[in-house]
Symmetry: C2
Subunit: 291 residues, 2 copies
């Protein structure tokens, strides 16, 4: 069994981006990071993005509106960043405070600066295999993990567990694309699928994104399968000082014994997300400035 | 075995649209039908659309540029229709003459008038389950055929044979949506899938859109399955005066003996396409005029 090392692959991508950015004449690519309020997890996520941008030699612009900002004010703020020629990509950190319609704010981001890949135009371009779009960071990261560990999906059966807009569906659309690393047969199953295990057991590559801690057990996996664990859950653990630990959608201790490759949690898909955000921002810089 | 009568269902939809349009005050919904050149099949398709619009009480505007029209001129023509407040939906009949980049012309149509549902924004809205988008007419028609023959996809395994942008992918995305008629587990397989029959035999509902005449034979079908045949091919037939006949992707004589329901060809999916185009145009009229 081989561990798929997301930290290593993400840092390879960062190094490649750093070398690429170093060749740019003129200003550096710039990502605007919008964080509303002082949610502890959001502060930490945005800090990671800021740090990786700096490591790569990109600029980041931290925008910190107060938690009291209204929907209209936040939309106006996004409009300003959309119009700002010095900003290549815009990231609005989720979650936004309750009264704000998060989806409406995400959709306000101009498609050509939507480096999170949440805009319907970008999802449509993914479905149409139009390379000018931005692919959501988690599914894009999954494809990089597979490619860079030598797993071509061609002729394989990929089973995606979960049909979310930002992971399950785009991952399925990527896997079925007509290109040498994709070309898979794809099944999307989800919480409403009867006898889920009968599907997951068929998977040559299983992408678990159902959001249930340690849901995928060894009896649900075909021996030799490649396992991508997208889940992040906190579960009780009396052996830890905090009384809890993080875990994925896969029961790692048993599944790792029978699969051929698996992403650990943490250190699998997670680190890829930030790397792909930066990759999308460099792409936006190139496209928006015709570099 | 029950035949799914596309002609009957399409004419039910036309009657419903006629009743709906009769309630509108002010101008009628209007579809612009753009046909370049004098391709015989295109003339016949556009005529069908014109006739159904008239039957429903809608207006159609026939636009007939010469076969010599350039790409730029055709784009300018589309721009004019996009800007024309009297036009609700725009249909550019495929195929366009060779030198013209058909995809570029289709994408030129404003998303809010794209009643064919080919614009990436509309495909993205479908993937995001945003009801303001326009769903491509063939997959939308398939869902209507199923709904109106009482086939809910919830808990079913839908296998889509073919991954085209205008049938296979949108049909898969529709079947997996979170609504009472969808909620299926969906597999997309295609020409590059090894052992295709092992997938098609799992289908509770099989949507055949692979573009190969009579490709699906009885041994590829689970007894009792529902079969939707999207294919249209012309094959040699010495018993016909013309020496040919039209057929679908399904070998009807054998498959119809073991399935529970099946669409005939012709008279199945085909007639639905025009009906759904009109339904989309009425929706565009409502949305663009806030009716």
């Amino acid at each position: 069994m081989e561990l798929i090392d997301g930290n290593k692959i993400a840092s390879d991508i960062a190094a490649e981006l750093k070398a690429e950015v170093a060749t740019f004449t003129g200003r550096r690519p710039c990502i605007a990071l919008v964080r509303v309020g002082d949610d502890a997890a959001s502060i930490s996520y945005v800090k990671k993005k800021e740090n990786m941008a700096a490591e790569i030699g990109m600029t980041s612009r931290l925008v910190l509106p107060p938690v009291s900002i209204t929907q209209d004010e936040l939309c106006a703020l996004v409009d300003g960043l959309n119009a700002d020629a010095g900003v290549d990509g815009i990231l609005v950190q989720s979650p936004l405070p309750k009264p704000i319609d998060e989806v409406a704010v995400f959709r306000r981001i101009a498609a050509h600066k939507d480096v999170d890949g949440f805009h319907p135009l970008n999802l449509g371009k993914l479905a149409q295999e139009d390379p000018t779009g931005f692919v959501a960071c988690t599914p894009a990261g999954i494809m990089e993990l597979l490619r860079r560990t030598g797993v071509s999906l061609a002729g394989k059966h990929v089973v995606v567990l979960g049909r979310s807009l930002i992971v399950g569906k785009p991952a399925a659309l990527l896997a079925v694309q007509r290109n040498q690393w994709a070309n898979a047969t794809v099944t999307i199953c989800h919480s409403q699928t009867p006898d889920l295990a009968s599907f997951t057991r068929q998977a040559d590559v299983l992408i678990a994104a159902i959001g249930k801690a340690e849901f995928v057990t060894a009896d649900m996996v075909k021996p030799g399968a490649v396992i991508i664990d997208v889940g992040v859950s906190r579960v009780p653990d009396a052996t830890k000082k905090t009384g809890t630990r993080l875990t994925g959608d896969v029961h790692f201790p048993t599944v790792s014994k029978i699969c051929s490759k698996i992403t650990p949690m943490p250190g699998g898909v997670g680190p890829m997300t930030v790397a792909m955000l930066m990759k999308n921002t460099v792409k936006a810089y190139r496209q928006n400035n015709h570099v």
